[in-house]
């Protein structure tokens, strides 16, 4: 991974690398609160922890200042399914940036990964908004510490199994999904019903244009 970065995102089509992003994230206020509470006890003897969730999910979106396919994101069908301005943050669009906004409390334009509706899914909440980090059949390899103080998440997703697409406008062309933001979530975050959950870490990146044939691979290092 390039020095100064901690998130690596590869997009491959039929094995060929078509996009590479190496960026650094922000550990949000929610993430800082998470660690402070995770260290703490509510009561002692018996010991009751203040919280007991672990980092578990990743979610993607089309928001953030690095989105360079804004016309696509702002046009039907994407804008029908993912209307701008729905975030509780009151975002006016493509303003979230990871390098000065630890107050980020959600993805700006989260995209669903499994859905049953082509309508405004933010209001219906019928999508699956986050997926568990990739796990091989060997559960013991799930948690990776390349160094004692570094926690590495690995995530792989085939577009066909993730990221819903609204119906093409004319019904013929394959839709594209212009991804430009991602977030990490703990196990306390719901995977459905709530698109705007607060991430513990957030990152923007130059748009990756996902197609049906795109495989996405993410490595996210969290360093203490």
């Amino acid at each position: 991974m390039r020095e100064g970065t901690n998130v690596r995102i590869e997009a491959r089509e039929r094995g060929k690398l078509v996009a590479l992003r190496e960026v650094h994230n922000v550990w949000t206020k929610e993430g800082r609160k998470y660690i402070a509470e995770m260290m703490s006890l509510l009561s002692v003897d018996p010991d009751v922890p203040e919280r007991d969730d672990r980092i578990q999910y990743i979610g993607f979106g089309m928001g953030g200042y690095k989105q360079n396919q804004r016309a696509m994101a702002l046009s039907p069908p994407l804008s029908t399914v993912y209307p701008l301005g729905s975030t509780p943050h009151g975002s006016t669009g493509f303003t979230f940036r990871h390098d000065f906004m630890p107050t980020i409390t959600s993805l700006e334009l989260p995209v669903g990964m499994v859905a049953t509706s082509a309508a405004d899914v933010y209001s219906s909440g019928t999508a699956t908004w986050r997926l568990r980090v990739f796990n091989s059949s060997d559960n013991s390899s799930w948690a990776v510490h390349p160094l004692p103080n570094v926690y590495r998440f690995e995530f792989r997703a085939r577009l066909g199994t993730a990221f819903i697409f609204p119906p093409p406008p004319t019904g013929n062309e394959y839709p594209f999904m212009p991804l430009s933001e991602a977030g990490l979530y703990t196990s306390s975050a719901l995977t459905t019903a709530r698109p705007f959950e607060p991430p513990v870490a957030y990152v923007n990146f130059d748009t990756i244009q996902m197609s049906e044939d795109t495989d996405l691979f993410v490595i996210w290092d969290v360093t203490i």
Partner: protein
């Protein structure tokens, strides 16, 4: 524009207030060090070991504090290196609070128990339990507090104990073990703890 790094940082402030019948007689305040063991602790605390069923990599939480007469800021070496302090609390005064590889108190002292040399006897208590619930003055801060009473540390033949180091421990520590791994550490100018004094400790951890 403020710069936010991609590394989580742990910053701390430690406050020690020694009182005699409620009146402050000495105070120590300052920064201290989050150790490499502490960094590993947080990385592992966020992690699942396995999923389906979900098994956490570790589940201990910060629970104990302990004192010692070690560290480079011991200002009463004549007291610290002579009976009744040494023996039993033998050792050097070489540890600093700028070395993240430090792992244990250099010369830990008992909260209560015997006066035996290291490793002590069954029933000796080396670390004290913090107060709960933990205080969060702001969401990203945790303040761990404990009051070390007059009869703690300074008991029996230990009429005056020249304290000069302190450690923060998780619930993985064994209070009856004299050498527990710490997550945070500090050395300070000597506080001579006697049976007339109590010490209030407030250890604030801030995640940035």
């Amino acid at each position: 524009m403020p710069h936010f790094t991609d590394t989580i940082e742990i910053k701390q402030n430690l406050s020690l207030i020694m009182r005699e019948r409620g009146k402050i007689v000495a105070r120590r305040e300052g920064h201290n060090i989050w150790l490499d063991i502490g960094k590993q602790y947080i990385a592992e605390l966020m992690t699942w070991l396995t999923i389906g069923p979900d098994v956490a990599e570790r589940s201990d939480r910060i629970k104990y504090m302990g004192f010692g007469v070690g560290g480079t800021r011991q200002l009463s070496p004549a007291v610290a290196n002579a009976p009744p302090i040494s023996p039993p609390y033998v050792g050097t005064n070489a540890q600093t609070d700028v070395d993240p590889t430090v792992s244990v108190l250099e010369r830990p002292v008992r909260i209560s128990g015997s006066s035996s040399a290291y490793p002590g006897l069954a029933g000796d208590v080396w670390v004290g339990t913090i107060q709960a619930p933990v205080v969060h003055s702001i969401p990203s801060e945790s303040t761990f507090r404990r009051l070390f009473a007059q009869t703690e540390i300074s008991y029996g033949g230990f009429s005056s104990v020249p304290l000069s180091e302190i450690g923060l421990f998780t619930s993985a520590a064994n209070p009856e073990n004299y050498k527990n791994l710490m997550v945070a550490y500090d050395t300070f100018d000597t506080l001579s703890k006697t049976g007339a004094f109590d010490i209030e400790v407030a250890w604030t951890i801030r995640v940035t």
